[in-house]
Amino acid sequence: MLKPVTVNYPAERLPDEFTKTLEEIRGKHRFDEDKCVGCGACSLVCSSGAITVSDSQDQRVLKVEVARCIFCGRCRDICPEKGLELTSEFELSQTGSRGEDCVKVEQKISMRRCEGCGRPTFPTKQIDSVKTRVLDKIDPSSKETASRDLEVYVKYCLDCRRTRSYAFNIHPRKSY
């Protein structure tokens, strides 16, 4: 009964071997610079709307507002590239939940511009990743046609594709 179980926090912390085994803790987010492609799936599945996607001319910014996060871990589970991890940093107190000095995690990806109208379409890395996945899964006999069509597809945004679909001979009922 006499040995205290409390720790003189913040002068002492829990010993390292205790925290090492707790790599499962869901703490602050960390985007992997190389793996994240900026698809925004984490933002769609977020339970509390803490992850926002904002596009500008050159880049897409994925922002995690740590104060709104409920640390459920769905974003990490759904990321198709395993580019988002939850570190074990849990001391995330801040004085306000809005404003510029609030804790946030950001990831910036460069966007590809449409060659027809100049508007931003998708992040370049996402386009590459989608291309790889489609060509991986498609039937080998249609691979060549598919890769040719994809080259044209990715140059244009949705509206420009529609206006040019007859000229490119890309239409939905073309079977692969």
Partner: protein, 554 residues
């Protein structure tokens, strides 16, 4: 004891042509439709003769078709999982039906809640005051007729001087050190003895049932987890029981064991928390510190297995999110062994300390008949000798595979409730150990693919689970989209908090905290921000409220 066929035959016989349709779903839940004039008779039959329980009354808004009032009866003392939903459709322009709470007092709070959320009126209800809204708001709620001067039913706390201490009104709440969350018990005192008591809740209401109706099923799991800070896993289990019934899927065995393990560990943590709080309420701060010390070990298990002490986010639709590694299983088994010894030491302290016994015995007596009448659930009911446990009567997860006993005690007072909870900790540790053994010896997937909501097998389902405080019921109605049409939750504290005014009468102020505490109230579970509106000035801002407060003092 009547069987389910006899029960249905009896209903058919009594209702005759008024029983307009009937169906049964694979989860052993019957649904019958009838007319609104026969609801009391049905209640009399199902509760009086068949000895069933009316667990909740829900009102579902069916748009142009009107309002559908569903009476959920639980008959799981006859057959496992047997429920019957009695539905009545009320027209939208005249949504009135007679109140059933004269036959079944246990439904009185459910009807009051539904009268606040929907325009349905339950006529001849013995206590039609607001449950969540302040008493001063118009009843029924009509925004044009707000009159701030008329206050019906509640008196403000009065200053008392020694000379007029005949019968003083003392406010226990909404802010009082005895309460963990906000609640208001208005108690009338005569010296130190309580002569009358009334309870008003709603200080913690967050509108969760409405939030469910705007979020998809997967996001709803996170929301269900956050209804209560203590019983997170149970809320997700009950919600998922309902959603998995709707989908018609069966989760794999390994997922069942993991869900049971999480639920039982949560029960251990919740009962240890309660032991500490009960100790604090009788002034025994040392027991509070010691029992929470043991509770820290349970939370460490949660953290190493799932990544988070509370809100572990382990359950998802179709199973559990990740597996428990064999190294974690070994660590947990060792921890549980150590915990068992420490819990037995705590039980020793509680049993043998003479002052603890003096404070807890003969306090807040609830006998079996009163418990059945008021619809008590959980350890509160089991301490009055009623063998009522959802894990044995409507089993879910892996409770059928493990061997365990339901703990009851005949005393009915706060001491009996303490004993029941302490013994349940040991039973839960037992069940957890059995689950860990099963996980060690078996393999298999931990989840299966969920079903697209447009392929749901049923259009409504009841999901039940045994929270540490009692029976938790989720009633989900789906309309084929990926957002539920209605979600109705009935938490165990909803039932148990209604008992408090009757238990308080005749005791002294010193016993009031432990009586309230022995029911183990969870106000977050019961309620689901108050904006003060002044019809002349619009919304009152915070600064004006602060000015009002400072007028009263110098």
């Amino acid at each position: 004891m009547v069987s389910s066929e006899d029960m249905l035959a009896g209903l058919r016989e009594r209702l005759g042509p008024d029983l307009t349709s009937q169906s049964k779903d694979p989860e052993n839940t019957f649904t019958i439709n009838t007319r609104k004039e026969r609801v009391r008779e049905v209640a009399r039959y199902l509760i009086g003769e068949v000895q069933g329980r009316l667990i909740h009354v829900s009102v579902i808004d069916r748009g142009l078709d009107g309002y559908e009032v569903v009476y959920h009866y639980s008959l799981d003392h006859l057959e496992k999982n047997l429920h019957i939903n009695v539905k009545v459709l009320l027209p939208a322009d005249e949504p009135e039906v007679e109140s059933v709470s004269l036959e079944a007092p246990e439904s009185s709070w459910s009807e009051r809640e539904m009268m606040e959320f929907t325009p349905v009126r339950f006529i001849n209800h013995p206590d039609p005051r607001h449950l969540w809204l302040p008493h001063e708001w118009p009843n029924p709620v009509e925004s044009e007729k707000y009159n701030p001067v008329e206050r019906n039913g509640v008196l403000p706390p009065q200053a008392t001087y020694p000379k007029n201490s005949e019968a003083s009104l003392i406010p226990l709440g909404p802010y009082h050190p005895l309460l963990i969350e906000g609640a208001y018990f208005r108690v009338k005192f005569d010296g130190e003895e309580i002569t009358d008591a009334d309870v008003k809740l709603g200080w913690n209401h967050r509108g969760i049932m409405k939030l469910f109706e705007s979020r998809s099923y997967t996001r709803g799991v996170s929301l269900a987890e956050r209804v209560c800070g203590i019983c997170n896993v149970t809320h997700t289990t009950a919600y998922l029981n309902a959603v998995e019934s709707l989908s018609g899927i069966e989760i794999p065995d390994r997922a069942r064991y993991i869900r049971t393990l999480m639920a039982e560990l949560e029960r251990v943590h919740s009962h240890l928390l309660w032991l500490g709080v009960a100790g604090d309420l009788i002034g025994f701060k040392t027991l509070f510190m010691l029992s929470w010390k043991v509770r820290e070990q349970v939370l460490d298990v949660f953290e190493s297995v799932t990544g988070s002490r509370r809100a572990p986010a382990m359950n998802l639709i179709g199973g559990v999110r990740k597996d428990v590694s064999s190294e974690n299983i070994k660590k947990t088994e060792r921890r549980l062994g150590g915990m068992r010894r420490e819990v037995e030491r705590l039980i020793d302290i509680t049993y043998n300390h003479p002052v603890v016994r003096k404070r807890l015995q003969d306090i807040g007596r609830l006998d079996l008949a009163a418990a059945k009448n008021a619809g008590a659930v959980g350890p509160t009911a089991r301490a009055s000798g009623w063998k009522l446990d959802t894990r044995s009567s409507s089993p879910y997860a892996a409770y059928e595979y493990a061997t365990w006993d339901v703990v009851t005690d005949g005393g009915g007072d706060a001491w009996a409730r303490t004993i029941v909870r302490l013994k349940e900790i040991l039973v839960s540790i037992d069940i957890s150990t059995q689950c860990l053994e099963a996980l060690n010896h078996s393999g298999g997937p931990t989840s299966i693919e969920p079903v697209d909501p447009k392929d749901f097998k049923l259009s409504e389902a009841l999901g039940k689970a045994e929270a540490p405080r009692g029976e938790l019921v989720y009633y989900i109605v789906s309309d084929g989209t990926n957002i539920p049409h209605s979600v109705r939750i009935r938490t165990p504290s909803f039932r148990n908090n209604a008992l408090i005014p009757n238990l308080l009468k005749g005791h002294t102020l010193a016993d009031a905290p432990i009586i309230v505490g022995s029911i183990d109230p969870c106000y977050s579970c019961t309620d689901r921000t108050v904006i003060v509106q002044d019809s002349r000035r619009g919304t009152i801002w915070k600064t004006a409220l602060i000015d009002l407060a400072s007028v009263r003092s110098r």
